[in-house]
């Protein structure tokens, strides 16, 4: 009976899928526009870069144009060849003005020298592979550089790798398409990481709602001889993108909110950076492309696109034939965790994986809490969102701390399930950042 049970985690919510209109259409390659914008803050605010080119420079495709300030950071590369036309602040998806390098594309795509040319990863040592991953500028969807996630902490060696191939949020199908179209690259990327860490078992987590991917992966995994690729079929439930929940589901290990996944010896990687690891180690190309789900109820023909970093959102939407109706909101990221952007001039960054044009801007008005407890049942971190909401609205930081507000992983499940449409997650997140709700 235990074998029949689909592994999952406590809490969470099954979201409406809205994936059918994009998951069967092949990914479209989008040629780069004339003007490319490279933000010097590609991920979160911890990893900011400094331009290392000046206006008028001629640059090559794959050339480093931004060097990280911190030792842990990763560089920014130009995804086209051309001339640097401007270096000035531009709008970031989170609303800040961030220093950016604007490049005029000459259309030749003249490549810069490759960062590595090995073609056989088996001869490379762990440090060589990590150095390639760092130089290639690979980051995961949360913006954390991949080489940092693979580093073991002092007391614990990394003993398990989980490739998180799930995307439980509505609309998103980028992982689904990538797994169907480039399964070899992804499996080989996983094998490179396993080789670097000297492991021989890798886990791939995939939702039960994708039988085509499961069949394909099972077939490929059965052909592997020297490493074991274990396919774990999990229940499609938000927030599967969260490390704690995916590790709990796949390996059954729980770890306290004070710890990182490295502290219990697990590294979680996602599909896009697994594929990029393969391309960087084998062919020496840095991270230049992202596969992006372009969907939402305002688009005539939604699909997945393969766009270069630096392409503006409006160019991608125009390339797909524009909007069928005027959107009220454009979201980068999933509908529960993504950011609503204020302008379409924002470029694709390393952490962009979806663009959703939605016309339901107005959320229903707040009603009084009826203490139904759905947020408590749905919270994957065992918090009491209803109580936290009350304390956050009262700006009572002492009680918020006693209620363990810092454990919140900001999955916004509580706000989603609330029948009174209360803005629970919003007030908790505000209070968490020290602001008042």
């Amino acid at each position: 009976l235990k074998a029949l049970k689909i592994p999952t985690f406590k809490g969470g919510v099954v979201l409406p899928e809205n994936k059918l209109n994009t998951c069967h259409i092949p990914t479209k390659n989008i040629s780069p526009p004339k003007i490319m914008t490279y933000l010097m803050q590609q991920q979160n605010a911890d990893f900011v870069c400094e331009p290392c080119v000046s206006v008028g420079d001629n640059i090559l495709m794959g050339q480093v144009i931004g060097q990280p300030f911190s030792r842990d950071g990763v560089p920014v590369h130009s995804s086209v060849s051309g001339r640097v036309s401007e270096i000035e602040p531009r709008l970031h998806p989170n609303g800040d003005m961030i220093q950016a390098v604007v490049v005029e594309n000459n259309g030749f795509d003249t490549p810069a020298p490759a960062i590595a040319l090995s073609r056989d990863y088996r001869g490379l040592s762990r440090d060589e592979i990590f150095s390639i991953i760092r130089k290639a500028g690979i980051v995961d969807t949360n913006g954390i550089p991949t080489h940092l996630k693979l580093l073991s902490s002092a007391e614990q060696k990394i003993d398990s790798i989980v490739l998180n191939a799930t995307e439980a949020e509505s609309y998103l199908t980028a992982n689904h398409r990538l797994l169907l179209e480039k399964p070899y690259e992804i499996i080989n990327g996983l094998k490179i990481i396993l080789h670097a860490l000297d492991l021989n078992v890798g886990h791939i987590a995939i939702e039960e709602t994708k039988p085509d991917v499961i069949n394909l992966l099972n077939e490929l995994a059965s052909r592997e001889k020297d490493v074991k690729i274990q396919i774990v079929i999990v229940k499609s439930k938000h927030p599967l993108h969260s490390e704690r929940q995916i590790i709990d589901t796949v390996l059954g290990r729980k770890f306290s909110p004070f710890k990182q996944s490295q502290d219990i010896g697990v590294a979680v990687i996602d599909v896009q950076n697994c594929r990029q690891v393969y391309r960087s180690v084998m062919f020496g190309t840095p991270l230049l492309h992202k596969t992006i789900t372009v969907s939402g109820n305002c688009l005539g023909n939604p699909l997945n696109v393969n766009a270069r970093i630096g392409t503006s959102f409006s160019y991608i939407f125009d390339n797909l034939g524009g909007f069928s109706s005027e959107p009220k909101k454009v979201i980068t990221g999933g509908p529960l965790t993504g950011t609503a952007v204020s302008s379409l001039d924002i470029p694709v960054t390393k952490t962009t994986y979806s663009l959703l044009a939605l016309n339901n801007a107005e959320l229903p008005p707040e009603e009084p809490c009826i203490r139904c407890g759905r947020c408590v049942t749905a919270c994957p971190m065992n918090l009491m969102p209803a109580e936290l909401n009350i304390q956050a609205l009262n700006i009572n930081f002492e009680n918020l701390e006693k209620l363990n507000i810092s454990d919140c992983i900001e999955c916004r499940t509580c706000s989603y399930v609330c029948p009174a449409h209360r803005h629970i997650a919003q007030s908790i997140n505000n209070a968490k950042r020290g602001g008042f709700a």
């Binding site: 529960l336 609503a340 203490r371 918090l383 209803a386 916004r412 029948p419 919003q426």
Partner: protein, 303 residues
């Protein structure tokens, strides 16, 4: 191409359910019971009408006169009126039922801040108010006097309760633990009394088959236990938030019901059991916080 875009913090989508849908589900769940009452005693249709009209009009009147948003369309007042009418006998004078409804909505619900802020169940409080004011009228045996008729209504309410569980409006914990506790307690007390009594015999299948059906019929199908367990003790506002707290709550309801029914002077122990447990809900909430994720140690609770 210039488009005006809204920005806001996530989430950007919300569940389709709302308070109104929840209340509508409760009304649908009560339809079998209402129908059974009206078929068995057509006069009770008037009682339902008076109770609903007075709860809805009182809420609207209070909210208009105190310049608040009128929220009668969330249907919570309708549910209160329906539940109160189901508790009252058909023979009660209609003006009494009206006064009980006004008390339930105005004093118990609106004076404490409206939906979500009441500390006891309004329908039960309205019933208790009427019971203390006009004891004979409220406890009089109505037109539905025969036990089998009461059993029909109880079964109709039970069907509605299972509908609510199936629709995930309520969960099974409170009603089933409540009823189970009462049955176990009543059977145990009956057995104890039988053993202690003069004509005590060895406990065999025959005595058990005499005592257990009596306890089941007299407590489950006759009286207010079923409606209290499925519709009153599960009212979200006045019950604990967590599953653990709800189990404590249901156990407390069951034990108090037995105590009041067996040794108390009041009729309908389930109603007072739920009212008392409603008051203890904030205390239960404090001792039943969820355990911190990934921690072996017991975590420090809020407050």
């Amino acid at each position: 191409l210039k488009i005006k875009l809204d920005t806001s913090v996530p989430p950007h989508i919300k569940t389709r359910t709302s308070i109104k849908v929840t209340m509508l589900d409760v009304i649908v769940a009560l339809i079998p019971a209402i129908a059974a009452r009206i078929v068995l005693s057509p006069y009770s249709a008037l009682l339902f009408f008076i109770c609903i009209a007075s709860t809805v009009l009182t809420e609207a009147f209070w909210q208009i006169s105190s310049k608040k948003n009128v929220t009668v369309f969330d249907l919570s007042a309708v549910v209160t009126g329906l539940l109160l009418a189901l508790l009252l006998p058909e023979t009660i004078p209609l003006w009494m039922a009206g006064i009980g409804s006004v008390f339930a909505i105005l004093v118990v619900k609106q004076f404490f801040g409206g939906l979500g802020s009441n500390f006891i169940n309004p329908a039960l409080a309205g019933y208790a108010f009427l019971l203390f004011s006009w004891f004979e009228s409220v406890t009089s045996i109505g037109a539905i006097a025969e036990p089998y008729q009461q059993a029909i209504i109880s079964i109709a309410i039970l069907a509605g309760g299972f509908y609510l569980i199936a629709r995930k409006v309520i969960n099974w914990r409170i009603p089933l633990i409540f009823i189970f506790t009462v049955l176990v307690g009543v059977i145990a007390i009956n057995l104890f009394e039988y053993v202690m009594s003069e004509q005590a015999d060895v406990i065999n299948f025959e005595t058990l088959s005499r005592i257990i059906p009596f306890a089941v019929v007299s407590h489950l199908l006759v009286g207010n236990l079923i409606i209290c367990a499925f519709f009153m003790a599960t009212e979200p506002v006045t019950t604990p938030l967590t599953n653990k707290g709800q189990i404590y709550f249901a156990l407390g309801c069951g034990i108090l019901t037995i105590i009041i029914d067996v040794w108390g002077v009041m009729p309908s122990g389930a109603i007072f059991a739920v009212l008392i447990m409603n008051v203890t809900t904030p205390l239960i909430d404090k001792i039943s916080y969820t355990k911190r994720y990934g921690h072996k140690l017991k975590h420090t609770n809020g407050k």
